[in-house]
Amino acid sequence: MKKSLSIALPSTLAIAALFIFLPFGSSAEFSFRSYSPEGKLMHSFAPYQWILQQPEFMSHLLLSFKLSLIAVAFTAILVVPSVAWLHLKAQSFRSIIEVVTILPLVIPVVALSIGVQAAFPDWLQSTEYELPLMYVILSLPFTFRILDNGLQAIPLKTISEASRGLGANWPKTIIFVIAPVMRSAVAGAFFLTFALSLGEFTLTSLLHWDTFPTWVTSVSQQNIIGAIALSVFSLTVAFVVLLLVGLFSSQTKKRTEVAE
């Protein structure tokens, strides 16, 4: 039993690693390709230099960053307090909300984009700032679950009552008690929202906005190597960000343990 497990685990991991790294490695190799005037295949940084020469590269990247950050801000303002409130005051609604939050995964993006957009006022529909709100909705299935799981482990009601009994009003209770205990769950929710927003293509394209992912797609029509180089670039950035978040959270964990 144990022996078969000890083989199963590494081999599963190996297959998973292959599944991730094979396409990534191939893309990376492809993204460095260029051709000499005689048509000979070479590897160089030329595609990446080409990216930097595109005036639209920076503007699209910055726009996507900006919209993603706004989506994170909305998650912080709308989603985090809502889930906390659900745990504090409306436990009985949790299961209903849980079902509702899964809808963005079930409803086709076409229907979702039109439906949600129709609910927005005209002035919002005419700016790209409608996107962050949509991103918040699209990431709800994930953010809700992360926050919900994080809170399940904490007796939020009791500790917030304890805090108030000790002289903290509601704002102070939120800042000093609720926010810190939710920190890792909140960080996870923020990261997911950010990553999802940064890479969102379907909805953005359907609503005819032009962000980094849609720009990359249009680039691929003219310069496929350049487009792949862009993808490799953004994947690497995403990976580094993930790594940093991972390092950050394990560091805070260590700090807590060392404090003994």
Binding site: I159, G165, G167, V181, T256, E260
Partner: protein, 346 residues
Amino acid sequence: MKSGTLELIGISRRFGQTIALDNLNLTIGAGELVALLGPSGCGKTTALRIVAGLESSDAGVVKLKDRDVTNLSAHLRNMGMVFQSYSLFPNLSAVENVEFGLKMRKVEKGNRRKQALELLELVGLTTQSKRFPHQLSGGQQQRVALARALAIQPEVLLLDEPLSALDAQVRTNLREEIRRLQLSLGTTTLFVTHDQEEAMAISDRVGVMSNGHLEQIDTPDVLYNNPASTFVANFVGTMNHIPAEQQGDLVSIFGKSIRVKNPNGISGSVSVLVRPESIEVSRAAGSGNAKVITRSFLGASSQIICQTPEGAVIQALMPSNGSGDLHPGEDVALSVMLSEVLVAHV
């Protein structure tokens, strides 16, 4: 210490159709420890939460030192509270937990650290001050919670079943410790529990609650020896229900007439309520009025379970050194060592 009198006047609270509190009146003197004891759902926790300001009342007034605090927010009441479930802030160390209330009161850092460490010393946790809640045992966590509640020098200390999640041994130690601290600090304390032994052991007065109102509130001795109602008599301590016939204000039991405490002018079949230690068991070969079923040795005392020819099972408690020869099957004579008994009508 700035502890004061706590008064609950005519407090009522409903949750939908259920009446949690029905015109509850309770006064706790300065420095007094009063326990509210009752079965679950009797309203004792609701009463405590209303005092804390965590729950609102439908009617009635809560007064602290003659000041009406009924509509005061929980965070302005200056009451320390210890909860049944572990309520320490998981992201703060023990000493930081104790400091929390002082931090909210803007006590300067060095000063509040010093006070917090003093309190941790008081509850015997000096060496664990830097530990986080998950690194502490249940008993230690409740000690920290107690220190945290006391750190704000509360006018009232509220204990909401603080011991029920703990092991028996820890529970006994901690309750003694709570009483010791409460006495030395002179903090007015309201202690909610469903464990009568706990309530009786450390309280100045115990209030027995049922269905949202106080059945009786008095010292543990009076409550035990002189219960005002059959509910209190049954709820506090062990009670025998011995079938007997009442005639006027006398009841005949084991061939002896005893005065009834609450006669009500009723005659007929009643249950006489007698505590096990008020029943005398003596050997009476051939001439007894009951037979021994079992004898359980409990240390200093022994529990004798007897049965009358009519089938009533009666529990007696007597010193072990006089009960050694009471074997199962033995004929015994039972008698009640009381001049007045409480009866329940059947």
